[in-house]
Symmetry: C2
Subunit: 145 residues, 2 copies
DNA sequence: ATCTTTGTAACAGCAAACATTACAATCATG
DNA sequence: CATGATTGTAATGTTTGCTGTTACAAAGAT
């Protein structure tokens, strides 16, 4: 099971907005053609990013912009914005383990701490990377010979 | 998108095998009743664990056993055993980004390193926990007053 | 031989992701 | 202020992977 492509699409979109904002209007159509998906998919993701205070989207006139300093947007922010699963739920548990079995009745007590630490490790790493970092990579790679 | 319950079920199963191996035969039926799923689900997971050299399963006579020292089985071993996605693919990418867009054509060059580091952080944490560690937690919790 | 249990195929149901069409609401601007 | 461009969102469809279930041959113990 993989983390949905919404996350990588969202990051792709943010990079595009920053890269092209001086030269063109970054409409959902334009962004969609860079990612190569339906514009509605982009609009839905932009809505999620907007709710999280990451972008501003203009109706009518069109186009999206970052709502904050790129150095102030982490990959974790983007991840939690577009990933529907609630906070702290990377691992899926089977429902209704047998309450009469000492293991079944305690499986959460036994595992939750360890699993949380695994998720924390991943999230800490995500928090350590900002859109500014990614933009630096992007500029370097795009302008390479 | 969550990591499938196969992972937590697999760990649950391993704990059960270790906990009950002295007192009973740990058949797929027995394990299924602790987890509260269909026995076939357990058998499928046991097969995946067997292919990874983590358990031994006896046909006919029945029952599963660990194939190695619990201290030598990490949560990462279990995770890669039951998670169908190939190595290094925690994040799902959209296919066919626009090759004519400097961002679209370079999106993997731009992101792969960062994403790999995130996945590595998660896997390192998983590797640091063994079934022996989990068994210690389990024994302490189960025998608590 | 018989009984138990595993290994596996076959199929069904469901949920989430992803795609697409359509259209009202919104905004800039001529 | 009418028009053209664009967003916001609902409705609908397709696909994919997970999970559940039935069924039964293969394997092993007694």
């Amino acid at each position: 099971m993989q983390i949905s492509s919404r996350f990588t699409i969202a990051v792709h979109v943010l990079i595009c907005i920053e890269t092209f904002k001086k030269d063109m209007k970054t409409t959902s159509d334009f962004l969609a053609s860079s990612v190569n998906v339906n514009p509605v998919v982009i609009r839905r993701i932009l809505q999620q990013l907007k709710k999280a205070g990451i972008v501003e989207v203009k109706r009518g006139s069109g186009g999206a912009d970052l709502a904050r300093d790129p150095a102030d947007i982490t990959l974790l922010d983007v991840y939690t914005a577009v990933e529907s699963v609630e906070e702290g739920r990377l691992f899926h548990f089977h429902e209704n383990p047998n309450p009469q079995c000492p293991v079944g009745s305690n499986i959460h007590n036994i595992l939750d701490d360890r699993l949380k630490r695994i998720q924390d490790a991943m999230e800490d790493q995500m928090r350590s990377v900002t859109i500014r970092d990614v933009m630096e990579d992007a500029c370097r790679i795009i302008s390479a010979p």
